[in-house]
């Protein structure tokens, strides 16, 4: 189509293309992260604060006799350094910036910012209590979704 309509269509098409490109890049970044788990960083790469895999298996604490489901869950945990300057995605509080900065000038009393969970999600658990009653309960803040410096 020609005229204003055509312009709009072209613009929309361009936007769509860009969105697709961004999506692809995001996917690639995710895959890269998966391929390089903590401890396997290449030399020169900093061990930055981020989410690490952690599977809690209820079998380890022999809880399978009272927990019906799930048998375990991916809890994840946060680990890594919070170096200065803090990137936007890691900076959860302005205080973290100050803390990291002060820590950087050899002031031992100022602890460096901590790598902590910033977003958490819930899990559902089906279990039996001591009265032999079957209970389904939702537990908040059990899975780490995102990490940041604080």
């Amino acid at each position: 189509p020609k005229g204003d309509k055509g312009k709009k269509c072209r613009k929309k098409r361009k936007e769509r293309r860009e969105r697709r490109k961004n999506k692809k890049n995001k996917k690639k970044n995710k895959e890269d992260k998966k391929e390089n788990p903590p401890g396997t960083e290449r030399p020169g790469h900093q061990n930055l604060c981020r989410r690490r895999p952690l599977h809690v298996d209820f079998k380890d604490v022999q809880w399978t006799d009272w927990i019906v489901a799930p048998l375990g869950y991916d809890a994840y945990y946060c680990d890594g350094t919070c170096p200065f300057p803090l990137s936007d995605n890691l900076n959860t509080t302005n205080h973290a910036v100050v803390q990291t900065l002060v820590n950087g000038v050899d002031a031992q009393a100022a602890p460096t910012a901590c790598c902590v969970p910033t977003t958490l999600s819930s899990i559902s658990m089906l279990y039996m209590d001591e009265h032999d009653k079957v209970i389904l309960k939702n537990y908040d803040d059990m899975v780490v979704e995102g990490c940041g410096c604080r």
Binding site: G39, V56, V61, D65
Partner: protein, 297 residues
């Protein structure tokens, strides 16, 4: 902290770098104990529950869990017959009726009296809903008229005073459901007012009376043959455990987000206090939603 410092870090390194710092038996025990205690704290238990062996897990609870955890690989049967609305509940409990508590018989074949022990519901939790689930079976092998549609009325009464042998019981009707017996299915009855009363005053729990009334236009010879209220002698215990009536309560402890399940509104004088609680919860929910919207903007 405990997890990262001891147990998982070491096991993780084992898997990745191939240079694990070996854990001694004592360290392992300590790590597991630390993991157990931290998990128990997270789950809000003082000690780990030790249920007796052979506890029957109702299929409905498993289905609810599957629905809640988004298990889409396995098909979920259409057992959710109750109408859903919005009210917070993060805990679902299931109860079988107590076989040891023998209530006097109703006197008719189409009636059964059952008693549930709901004292296990903590007082701190707000009861948002309660449903009684009853299995209605259509056994095609024993019935000559397969195509015939059977209609019954299922009534549930709360027994108000202890039942004696000679006198008739005083009861109040809580819910009625019209059932069409075409295929085997579950029927859900709203017993929220009764359970709420029992939770607040356990002494006033005299049980429930369930009546199966044949439909006027579709009289059936014996409606109780389709509705599983009592265990028949020929029915195995394992089969009965699947088919027996089940009381399901929905409560909220105010600590966690609600399960994606809801409540049907019920009008009762007894549950005014609880309704206030529910209203408060609803208000806080709307505030949260507004906040979330603002954040998004």
């Amino acid at each position: 902290e405990l997890i990262t410092s001891t147990y998982t870090q070491s096991t993780y390194r084992t898997a990745t770098s191939g240079a694990p710092p070996p854990l001694t038996e004592e360290q392992k025990k300590k790590a597991v104990a630390a993991l157990e205690s931290s998990l128990l704290t997270l789950f809000g238990f003082s000690r780990r529950p030790r249920p007796s062996k052979g506890v029957v897990i109702p299929q409905y609870m498993i289905d609810l869990y599957r629905q809640q955890s988004g298990d889409t690989d396995t098909p979920i049967p259409a057992v959710y017959t109750r109408k859903h609305s919005s009210s917070p509940a993060n805990t679902v409990r299931s109860f079988f009726h107590e076989d040891e508590v023998q209530l006097h018989e109703c006197g008719t074949d189409n009636c059964a009296r059952i008693w549930f022990n709901v004292t296990y519901i903590p007082q701190s939790e707000v009861l948002t809903d309660a449903e009684l689930r009853i299995y209605v079976e259509r056994n095609h092998t024993h019935e000559p008229d397969i195509d015939k549609v059977l209609r019954h009325k299922l009534q549930v009464f709360e027994i108000m005073k202890p039942v004696s042998k000679d006198k008739e019981s005083i009861s109040r009707l809580i819910d009625v459901q019209d059932i069409i017996v075409q295929n085997s299915s579950w029927v859900s009855l709203d017993v929220h007012p009764a359970v709420l009363k029992w939770k607040n005053k356990p002494r006033e729990n005299h049980g429930l009376e369930i009546r199966v009334v044949p439909h006027r236009n579709y009289p059936s010879s014996n409606p109780l043959t389709h509705v599983r209220l009592r265990r028949a002698t020929e029915v195995e215990q394992s089969e009965w455990n699947i088919q027996r009536p089940l009381l399901v309560t929905y409560t909220d402890d105010g600590k966690a987000s609600s399960l994606s399940r809801t409540k049907r509104s019920s009008d009762s004088d007894d549950n005014n206090d609880a309704d206030d609680d529910i209203e408060e919860n609803a208000e806080s929910d709307t505030k949260k939603k507004r906040k979330r919207k603002r954040k998004k903007c």
